[in-house]
């Protein structure tokens, strides 16, 4: 086993771990009870799955063809930046649309904050109107 085979093995191993992560994420989306926990599963572990797979592909091509693909590195950075924010926006849109949390939920701090804002935060709103 020479050096390039070892590097290729590392890349293939990362791709395997990444696909296992993707399956775990898919199982989470099916099994979890409400939108927020599903987006938790769908954002975190599938981001990690994509990152591991892309890193594996990068290492594989680097080891087998000594070709450092800048596009793969850029894709890793891009997915790492965008996927959590996409999850954030989807969950926030769901909360704004009054999607109920599951029955297992015991705390809703955002709801408390919004209610507190509605009760005493009228001053800011009137200032906005004056402007």
């Amino acid at each position: 086993m020479n050096v390039s085979e070892i590097v290729e093995f590392i890349g293939v191993f990362l791709i395997l771990i990444g696909s296992i992560m993707a399956v775990i994420s898919a199982i989470g989306i099916v099994r979890l009870p409400d939108v927020y926990t599903r987006s938790h599963s769908g954002t975190k572990s599938s981001t990690l799955a994509v990152l591991l797979t892309l890193t594996g592909a990068f290492i594989f091509f680097w080891g087998s063809q000594s070709f450092a693909s800048v596009r793969l590195l850029l894709g890793i950075v891009f997915v790492f930046l965008t996927a959590p924010v996409a999850g954030h926006l989807i969950s926030r849109a769901a909360y704004r649309a009054n999607v109920k949390t599951s029955d297992l939920t015991v705390e809703d701090e955002l709801g408390d904050a919004i209610r507190a804002y509605e009760e005493e935060g009228t001053g800011e709103h009137e200032e906005d109107k004056k402007e």
Partner: protein, 144 residues
Amino acid sequence: MKPIKSNDVMLQTLTRILVFIILSFSIYLLFAGHNHPGGGFIGGLMTASAIVLLYLSFDIKSIKKSLPINFITVIGIGLLLAVATGIASMLFGYPFLTQFFDYFHIPLLGEAELTTAIPFDVGVYLVVVGAALTIILTIAEDDI
């Protein structure tokens, strides 16, 4: 229920970073089109998508102020550029749209092959950017 003031800090901060990545990748695609996958069409679509991302995360008025481009004229400029490369070959006595290429030595980049297909591709790029953004903005501004 009183509407809460919308707060898009996450999206706007990320857009400021991402637009540069998308725009640089679209320019890469435009120039890679000769020897690799890419070209004017996909590069133009990607530039249009970066600008649409700007329009999505900020409001239309502020982007109009910071990007004062009439995209209909962009279509015209692109078409003129594409036709001009065709007519330029006719001026030298060759048929319409004949392609020329030569090797030049550019500082920093080294030996590079420059062809007259690049201005044509830039024309396609401008037409695609202009057409996509004209379609999207025409639909978005229809608030009568």
